[in-house]
């Protein structure tokens, strides 16, 4: 019987937050891929009930690309037969324009990249795959909030354009306690507005850091 390893792996990732690896399963039929996209579409519907405002639509291409990216980078955790160039080409590039729908849909899988990077650096901190994934997170930084990115390289234009994604972004910064990102001049006013007068109660560190920040700049 034909086994869809791609689907099994992504399912385990989404439902158990575990990674299952299957050796030498690197090519998939159209049918296999479509099954994964269908599964992700269902997951998106389930998750988008929790999204604020009017949730953006599902973007199947972005979800497919993200699933592939995550799948192949997890493969590279264990199975390394290829050279450096091959690794770079194993992580596919997203060729379509970046839209709020693409960001939210790809996040279904891309949100696990920070954990993969941590695992990679535990095995070998000089791994060539790490900078590739980090630069990918800099572009798709909604999925990289839990990873310490260089906040000067981030582009917030697409995030701000959609109120639903905008609110999701702020929620994640607060729940991840990413203080460096919260102090970014663009983010800071959003966070301030969201915490309002309860900042001290909700996120003590943030009020402390903003106070220090304001005092040094005076």
């Amino acid at each position: 019987m034909h086994e869809n390893y791609f689907l099994k792996s992504i399912k385990a990732l989404r439902q158990e937050e575990e990674i299952l690896l299957y050796e030498h399963a690197l090519t998939f039929s159209e049918h296999d891929i479509q099954e994964v996209v269908d599964f992700l579409a269902l997951e998106f519907v389930r998750e988008s009930i929790e999204y604020p405002h009017t949730p953006s639509d599902f973007d199947p291409l972005a979800a497919e690309w993200a699933a592939k990216t995550v799948y192949f980078s997890t493969q590279l955790l264990l199975f390394r037969e290829s050279s450096v160039e091959d690794i770079a080409s194993a992580v596919p590039k997203f060729s379509l324009p970046m839209t709020p729908a693409a960001i939210v849909s790809s996040d279904l899988c891309l949100r696990f990249i920070p954990f993969i990077i941590r695992q990679l650096s535990l095995i070998d901190s000089q791994d060539v795959l790490i900078p590739i994934l980090v630069s990918l997170l800099h572009t798709w930084h909604y999925s990289g909030i839990t990873y310490p990115l260089d906040s000067t390289l981030l582009d917030f234009e697409c995030i701000v354009s959609n109120p639903s994604l905008h609110q999701l972004y702020i929620n994640r910064v607060i729940s991840a306690n990413n203080i460096k990102l919260a102090l970014h001049p663009v983010c800071r006013q959003w966070i301030d507005a969201n915490l309002s007068i309860f900042a001290e109660e909700f996120w003590k560190e943030f009020t402390m850091e903003t106070r220090i920040h304001d005092n040094t700049n005076r």
């Binding site: 009930i49 999204y51 604020p52 702020i170 969201n194 309860f198 109660e201 909700f202 996120w203």
Partner: protein, 249 residues
């Protein structure tokens, strides 16, 4: 700060012994000393704030003195009136004991009942819960930061009202409640007999599985604690869908 000279002055009060009961209001001031001198009694060691207080001013037929150089001067007088009487001073609450009324063994009023009554109260209490129309909650929650909601718990009551518990409450209009244990009282109101709050709770809610929601007209409703669920956008949305036919809009 400048030193206030009058703080050091010791004040005396002279009263006829037959008017002993008038001292009831100041019996609680533990710094006072009292002594009995034949048909009169003396109270000493008043502070300036005490001697000018309403409690002392309202004692009738008293004579007030202040002490200087071992002599007693009438209050507001510069001429000495008499020497300090050599007396045995005792603490005022020891010298004026309270006698409690005896237990009435022939009391047959034990079948009398009291009504639970809500009265307006001036005391300030923090509100910990609110009831708001479900529409308001639905409208607010879809645009709210998750950090504002994740500490709260909520339940749908009567199919169209949302009950929200825990602080900080959401910035939407509604009826606020404060709590005495599991009793949730409308803000600005209190039991007429607050000391019985625990008794009410133990009668209405012996297993502590409910929250007792009190209305201003002294009626109450029981809300099972198990019905409360964490507040989130999806929880509100799914509830709204399920109850849509119940509330025609």
């Amino acid at each position: 700060m400048a030193y206030h000279a009058s703080h050091d002055v010791v004040y005396y009060l002279l009263l006829d012994i037959s008017r002993k009961d008038d001292l009831a209001t100041i019996r609680g001031w533990s710094n006072l000393k009292i002594a009995f001198d034949g048909a009169s009694l003396w109270v000493k060691d008043f502070e300036h704030s005490q001697i000018t207080s309403v409690a002392v001013k309202s004692i009738p037929f008293k004579t007030l003195f202040y002490e200087r150089d071992g002599k007693l001067f009438l209050l507001n007088s510069l001429l000495p009136d008499r020497a300090i009487p050599p007396l045995l001073w005792t603490a005022i609450d020891r010298a004026l004991p309270i006698t409690l009324p005896g237990y009435n063994h022939n009391f047959f009023g034990i079948h009398e009942k009291i009504a639970v009554l809500m009265v307006e109260s001036d005391q300030v209490h923090e509100s910990v819960a609110m009831i708001t129309p479900f529409d308001h909650l639905e409208r607010y929650s879809t645009s709210a930061p998750s950090v504002r909601m994740k500490r709260l718990q909520w339940a749908l009551i009567n199919g169209e009202q949302a009950f929200l518990l825990s602080t900080p409450l959401l910035p939407i209009p509604g009826q606020a409640f404060w709590h005495r244990g599991d009793n949730l009282l409308p803000a600005g109101y209190d039991f007429e007999l607050p000391v019985l709050a625990d008794t009410y709770a133990s009668i209405l809610n012996p297993d502590k599985q409910y929250l007792v929601l009190w209305n201003t007209d002294s009626t109450y409703s029981l809300l099972p604690k198990i019905d409360l669920q964490p507040l989130s956008i999806s929880s509100v949305r799914l509830t709204g869908k399920r109850h849509a036919p119940l509330s025609p809009r």
